[in-house]
């Protein structure tokens, strides 16, 4: 038994060292605790959101705001974090669901325990007190198209790209874009709704085909995050930078070069930093027992006058005006 107990001792000592070494000190908190749980940690989008949560914490010393997220993109892992935090006893959850439907059961259990639940990017979530969306999808599509029309001078052939025709938000964006283009009778939509599947390379090939088929094309409106990169590269290689307009959803960091070269006219996105702050602001006022009324100011840029409508469940849908259109002149303010 001597060797055995030594073995045990060694093994458990090692395991303990691992745990003790990595576990930080925990203190009892009197202030309301708001936990932000993102889809996955360690990617630029949610790192940017964390800067917002930290900023919120700095501005609101009367609450405790921290961000958590699973190391792998798996709804089951996100769910476990939420379960543990509920057991630990937080007052508010601000969740960006990996998969809204899979989280319904867990969020319901949290709400049953009196925890305030706020979600983001989940306008179909039933078990939530409030879902915060950065913008109205139709407004966003219209804004992208306005920028495109301005660049095209209101005339010429143009086309649209979507991630897939099954993607609801993308179809809403290009749909609103088409509506807006109708105010410019000289804008002609050709070969609309090309599917990119968010693959920059596939989009590049498809954009080259379109440039060959319509040598006189003047504009592209794209939807998925990588589309601007694919189409931008095709425009750049064809030597059409600055002659063909490209406006679409994209992130500042990867788009830098193409924005500089003029292949991308402008990119549209919403700032996860502001979304993180807005979610926490909503959670804080709901915990305090206040309601978020239509037209309220959340104290976050882009969310100064939010639209509040009834959500799919008991909760409300809070829609801000947090869209950002960045071009060569101002993208540097948003590098993430």
């Amino acid at each position: 038994m001597g060797a055995l107990s030594k073995k045990m001792l060694l093994g458990s000592a090692m395991a303990l060292a691992v745990v003790a070494g990595s576990a930080g000190a925990l203190m009892a908190q009197d202030k309301p605790v708001i936990a932000t749980i993102v889809k996955i940690s360690g990617i630029p989008w949610f790192d940017r959101m964390e800067t917002g949560v930290k900023q919120f914490q700095k501005d609101n010393p009367d609450v405790v705001a921290t961000q958590y997220g699973p190391a792998t993109a798996d709804a089951a892992q996100q769910l476990q974090i939420i379960n543990d935090l509920v057991a630990k006893g937080v007052n508010g959850l601000a969740v960006v669901p990996m998969d809204p439907s899979v989280l319904e059961g867990t969020l319901k259990r949290a709400m049953d325990r009196g925890i305030i639940v706020v979600t983001h990017e989940a306008d179909n979530q039933k078990n939530t007190h409030a879902d915060v969306e950065a913008f109205d999808n139709a407004d966003y599509g219209r804004a992208l198209n306005k920028r495109l029309a301005e660049c095209m001078g209101g005339k010429g052939k143009w086309t649209t790209f979507v991630g897939s025709v099954g993607s609801r938000t993308h179809m809403q964006w290009v749909g609103a874009g088409e509506e807006n283009a109708k105010t410019h009778p000289d804008m002609v939509l050709v070969d609309k709704n090309n599917e990119s599947f968010d693959d920059a390379n596939g989009t590049y090939e498809k954009a080259k085909e379109i440039l060959r088929k319509h040598p006189d094309i003047k504009g592209f409106q794209t939807s998925a995050g990588n589309d601007v990169l694919g189409v931008g590269r095709a425009i750049d290689e064809a030597g059409l930078s600055g002659k063909v307009c490209l406006v679409g959803t994209g992130l500042p960091n990867p788009s830098q070069d193409l924005l500089e070269s003029g292949a991308i006219t402008a990119i549209g996105f919403w700032d996860p930093q502001k979304a993180g702050m807005a979610m926490n602001a909503v959670a804080k006022s709901l915990i305090a027992g206040k309601k978020v009324e239509d037209g309220a100011d959340l104290g976050v840029p882009g969310y100064e006058k939010v639209k509040v409508v009834k959500g799919p469940g008991e909760g409300v849908l809070i829609i801000g005006n947090g869209m950002v259109l960045a071009d060569k002149a101002n993208y540097k303010e948003y590098l993430f």
């Binding site: 045990m8 093994g11 745990v19 925990l26 798996d74 709804a75 057991a87 899979v102 319901k108």
Partner: protein, 331 residues
């Protein structure tokens, strides 16, 4: 079997230590009944899959079951679609729940038998076979559900399994302990259990001794499939909706648990009680790190370190290496 009792004692010690550390850093809330219930409710999903992996490993000859979580998702998705097509969940809730459970178990069983048949009759290496069926099961689930989440709803009985307590213990945890007990009894008291372990220890001798090898293999993978079906039921009961890509990270965690529990990857040895204890240890550790507000990458790191520790302690006489007077026999 020098690790036979040691592994269990070590796991118990680690669990106790984790609970103690948790109580210390959280000022007691870690041991609150609600958190204990929450953790007990979280672990059955992965526990079922880990027992399945253990059974496959025990069969030897590179036995492993990679299709567990895929089969669990398929059971949930397919059962929800099949049952909903002829029963409304708003109708008789108990009938709906029982039908859902029965169909999910059947799908799990059939999927597991399919694995067993491929491995025993066609002699496909288990790791390749179950990798293939994993994709097959996932594919079927995607096609059936159109890639979307499928609503199961929360009919009374299912909702009780997912959220209910019996004498303060989550019912899902009791189901898990019950199923684990049955598998343990199966291994200990039936000829099947003896054949499985002996076959895993020495497949050649098993052939010459005239063991019904194919039947044992099929039964092993069928049990593993049945456990995956149970995992699918628990997932559906807790989450209200089921989806084909749920728990993709479970695959490796289940293997991790099995190895931590001292199951021999070469086959022939494994104890259900150790797998249960290892599942609890991983759950405690994961919840502890979430309580401490640490990055989940730290958790992955800690799990990896724990796994390597167990492997090292189990396989080499590590203690002997560190205490020179006992190391003569090592080289």
């Amino acid at each position: 079997m020098r690790t036979t009792g040691g592994q269990l004692v070590m796991l118990v010690v680690i669990n106790a230590a984790l609970l103690a550390v948790g109580a210390m850093i959280s000022g007691g809330t870690f041991l609150s009944p609600f958190n204990l219930q929450s953790m007990a409710g979280q672990l059955p999903e992965i526990g079922f899959l880990a027992i399945g992996v253990m059974l496959a490993m025990c069969a030897g000859n590179g036995g492993i079951d990679l299709s567990g979580i895929a089969l669990a998702n398929l059971s949930g998705v397919a059962s929800a679609i099949i049952v909903a097509s002829f029963l409304a969940s708003t109708g008789n809730e108990t009938v709906f729940s029982i039908a859902f459970i029965a169909v999910a178990l059947v799908i799990g069983l059939v999927g597991g038998m399919f694995n067993g048949l491929l491995i025993s009759r066609l002699n496909i290496t288990p790791i390749l076979c179950t990798l293939g069926t994993q994709m097959l099961f996932t594919g079927i689930a995607v096609v059936l559900s159109d890639g979307r989440a499928v609503a199961v709803g929360s009919p009374e009985l299912l909702s009780a399994i997912g959220n209910g307590l019996f004498l303060g213990v989550p019912i899902s945890f009791l189901v898990f302990i019950g199923a684990a007990g049955l598998v343990a009894a199966l291994l200990k008291f039936t000829p099947f259990g003896l054949w499985l372990m002996l076959m895993g220890t020495n497949p050649k001798a098993a052939t010459f001794a005239g063991f019904p090898k194919a039947r044992v293999l099929i039964a092993t993978y069928a049990t593993s499939g049945l456990l995956a079906g149970l995992a699918g039921i628990i997932i559906a009961a807790r989450n209200v909706n089921v989806k084909w890509d749920y728990g993709t990270s479970y695959l490796l965690i289940a293997i991790l648990i099995a190895v931590m529990a001292g199951v021999r990857p070469e086959g022939g040895y494994g104890r259900v009680i150790c797998v249960v204890m290892a599942t609890i240890a991983l759950q405690l550790m994961s919840s502890l790190l979430n309580f401490g507000g640490l990055s989940n990458f730290v958790r992955d790191f800690a799990w990896g370190a724990l796994l390597l520790t167990f492997l090292a302690v189990g396989r080499y006489n590590l203690v002997g290496l560190l205490t020179p007077n006992k190391s003569e026999k090592l080289v």
